[in-house]
Symmetry: C2
Subunit: 554 residues, 2 copies
């Protein structure tokens, strides 16, 4: 396409110095966090040390896996966390007038230096109830980070998971392009979508600013309006194109016309029915991008007009030493159309003895979602590249991931959050998270244990328990043990080399490849097991009983 | 609440100088727009003048009305439209290397000075197929604006419509608060949500940055973590509160304890079952915000713990000259809980002879959507204030509005976009849009006519036709005629006084009030009629026949 294939990584000078052009500032939070901070401060809890877990309870889209994303932005947020003078003036203006002035002094000094962040690597496959991020440090500071971290992780992980599901559906060899900017939830909804779709396995985006800020390949050709803006060949003030090798000027229009006549005869199509405006538009585009022609062929009629106009211009480009790329379909029955177009391309390939013509790229971009791709697969579609917009970027099937942020310990004392809904009861205390692997290299289970327990080791027989169902338990003897939570932020400094987008994207591909197929399948996937150690099980249930007084029947 | 009720409009100094902290820049567009611009430029179409309409085809959420929003941001975008040197360097780096250098020169000079924008007022009630914005000017420039304008209008209108539907469901007197930041689609998804929820009829947001940038009232009290971070009254390093009138220091904790004992007796609840940590947390919050106590009462058990702890502290606050605000419920059966809590408040009111106690505010905030509110209404809930998050901000029921941007005229020649799907055929040519009103002041129909037709006037009998169904037509004699499209941008300058958020919000309220009830109802609403003039009908169908050649049956 007439695009940026060549330049995978524009120079770093275009990158955003801080994620999101500085939108992520400490005031991007809920008011109650600030009010709680004041109440904590008033009751003298400035020195309280807390541990919070950030996790979700159910994988999205009816699936059984989630891609964890957004960590890079979380760490950038922590690095830059500081209330400005203007922020504090604003808070003083909207908070209760009784709020004491020294509180704003106190806020002005707050940083995240005393916060330690443990996190799973961005781009990992993750599962319900496993802490993705654990924060330990001053209660007040961590409380003030909650909303922003949830915001940064929720949509990023949701979108990356959605993109990964499209990638699984389409298979590894199809091109997937994110085309959703116009329908995204706000300007930055569009930017985030482009970024996390790329991480999840897309190949590029239509969003130019995302390309500029994040170095993602940008793609795109033309719209229906481009085609209909040309009424006839007279609208074309420039008909000439230089031969790719000789440099000699040729009249692309008349060469294309000659070929088009031959194609019409071959395909038994009335040339008079082909739109002259569309033909002019394709010529114009070919003159501008002789090596990048992807023609949108459905403005009038795919077969009577679009395909013959495209073939005429494509053959002319070939004669002048260029190779056309293909066509785009933006409406209709994509399985039928792609198959028929492929057949017609085959006829042209034989007629003109150009075998590559049969394999020209077919791009499809009409309101496609994961189910569409699965259905197209069943119908043996011949599409090479999908442009996916609304359903991808808004995550139409489930537009929010429900990550939560739960207090699990204060001043060394474990905390449990009870709920009528057992699944919502939290796992108390500061924990270590292990991923245990079988001898085939596949992961078997994620296991949470109290951080005070002895570390797990390879070959050790471990009792893994279901966190809520007493009778569900199993022994595992792992062939490999991976500690999932790594220290990412400590003593005011980043503790890991932060990966590039491309590295995170590669991690997603590797992580999905190592996940058992039955966890990934579209229909009724098998839940991946997440267990707790026997010690954590007992600790949790004891605390539960302590916290829930015996009621009276009435 | 301990919030910003008092300050509806913080000083303008906090406002964002440009919407969205400068994210809305010309590169926030699809790559194909830039590629088309180059192809237009190469084929000499720099002087072509085009007219484009921005409209949608179906109102969202199964409804029959839409609130138009986002115009202010569109106009700000036009005002600031200019490619920077860095933008052009980036484009030169990612576009085909064959793209000629003078094209970037040309782009560097582009402004929107020659574009005229006609638009419907932001905050208006609008309907399918009616152009919300019409742009006339250089084809290339308008094409370059398309994606950004769609992005700015789509989510803004969707969200404002969603918010307006919640407002209709809740009725005019309930407080509606937007609590969605943590689940929004990215940081700016959250900011846009807060802004357009306010326009659509919400009273405030939890999003502090939205408050700072847009002057929206911010609200919020405390979370479950606040409650569970206190284990007992010993965690409270400060127990004292000054009497509101005398200024004398009192021990809030012991006064609250005394009252709590009385409340337990009154309500026949075992005091030993009430959580001491929760009691400490409520005391801490009351000491920090003695005039702003809204207690989250469901961390342990609403009746056995939350309500008695709250009543104890609330009565103590009263004794010290303050008025508590109320409670928040964040789980469970909200109809049942709110009714029971109201009854208990009534018992306390009688016992302590404090009639206002019965009317304390009950806030509810558990995963609420439009259907929940309708169902709560049927169950005679006693909730005064709703905090609404995920469903509102992600528009879960339909997360994208399908606004499109269609070419309707080039160089004075009308253009029609055909489609297999009749409803997708566009209405060609530059048009005038009228809203015709009956003698009762209600609008009857929106009528599109060609801009070359004579203006409509009051009392004139007009034939209104369905755009696609020949037999559907009706005469209307309007008692009032309103031209919906106003010139907003011309000769490089804003042509209207741009309204404040509050003015737009007021327009939404007025517009919905004047819309007939059957168009607004939740179940099977009546479609509002949008017709075309007889002249436009004939013009459109003639062009349609011309553009669609007679096929051959096969």
């Amino acid at each position: 396409m007439a695009t940026a294939d060549r330049v995978e990584k524009p120079s770093d000078k275009f990158r955003s110095p801080q994620s999101r052009n500085g939108v992520v500032q400490p005031l991007l939070t809920d008011m109650y966090q600030i009010n709680m901070a004041y109440a904590y401060w008033k009751s003298g809890k400035m020195a309280d040390v807390a541990v919070f877990d950030l996790f979700f309870r159910k994988s999205p889209f009816g699936g059984e896996f989630t891609i964890f994303a957004g960590l890079d932005e979380c760490i950038a947020f922590l690095q830059n966390f500081r209330y400005t003078k203007s922020d504090l003036e604003y808070l003083a203006c909207v908070m209760d007038p009784g709020v004491e002035k020294p509180f704003f002094e106190y806020l002005s000094q707050l940083t995240t230096t005393d916060v330690t962040v443990m996190a799973i690597h961005e781009g990992s496959v993750v599962f319900p109830r496993v802490p993705l991020i654990t924060l330990e440090g001053p209660l007040i500071v961590i409380q003030l980070l909650e909303t922003t971290l949830l915001n940064l992780v929720n949509y990023a992980s949701l979108l990356a998971t959605n993109a990964a599901r499209y990638r699984l559906a389409a298979g590894p060899h199809k091109q997937l392009l994110e085309f959703g900017l116009r329908r995204a939830q706000g300007p930055d909804g569009g930017l985030s979508a482009s970024k996390y779709a790329y991480i999840g396995g897309f190949d590029g985006t239509s969003n130019v600013l995302a390309g500029k800020l994040y170095g993602i390949p940008v793609k795109g050709t033309h719209a229906h309006a481009f085609v209909s803006s040309y009424s006839s060949i007279d609208d074309l003030h420039n008909r000439e194109l230089r031969h790719a090798s000789t440099g000699a000027l040729h009249d692309l229009v008349s060469i294309s016309e000659t070929y088009r006549t031959q194609v019409c005869e071959l395909l038994k199509i009335l040339q008079s029915e082909a739109s002259e405006g569309e033909f002019a538009a394709f010529c114009a585009f070919a003159i501008a991008f002789p090596s990048g022609l992807v023609a949108l062929v459905d403005t009038y009629d795919v077969f009577k007009s679009g395909i013959v106009n495209f073939c005429g211009v494509a053959l002319a480009l070939h004669q002048l030493g260029y190779k056309p790329i293909g066509i785009r379909l933006d409406s209709g029955d994509l399985a039928y159309l792609s198959n028929t177009v492929r057949t017609l391309f085959g006829q042209v390939a034989i007629k003109f003895d150009l075998p590559w013509f049969e394999h020209l790229t077919i791009v499809a971009s009409n309101n496609i979602n994961e189910d569409t791709i699965n259905s197209l697969n069943e119908q043996n579609h011949k599409i090479d590249s999908f442009g996916i917009g609304t359903h991808l970027v808004t995550c139409q099937r489930q537009p929010a991931l429900g990550c939560v942020f739960k207090l699990v310990e204060v001043n060394g004392q474990a905390k449990i959050k009870l709920s009528q809904d057992v699944e919502k009861v939290t796992c108390p205390g500061k924990k270590t998270v292990y991923r245990l692997y079988g001898s085939d290299g596949r992961s078997l289970i994620d296991l949470l244990q109290l951080s005070s327990e002895a570390p797990l080791s390879v070959g050790q027989k471990v009792l893994c328990r279901h966190p809520f169902q007493e009778s569900k338990r199993a022994y595992v003897t792992p062939a490999k043990v991976e500690k999932l939570l790594k220290v990412y932020w400590k003593d005011g400094a980043v503790q890991q080399e932060m990966p590039t987008l491309l590295e995170i994207r590669d991690r997603v591909i590797a992580a999905l490849a190592s996940l058992r197929q039955d966890h990934k399948r579209n229909l009724n996937p098998t839940p991946y097991k997440v267990g707790v150690s026997d010690c954590l099980y007992n600790f949790m249930h004891e605390l539960w009983l302590q916290s829930a007084p015996i009621g009276e029947l009435f």
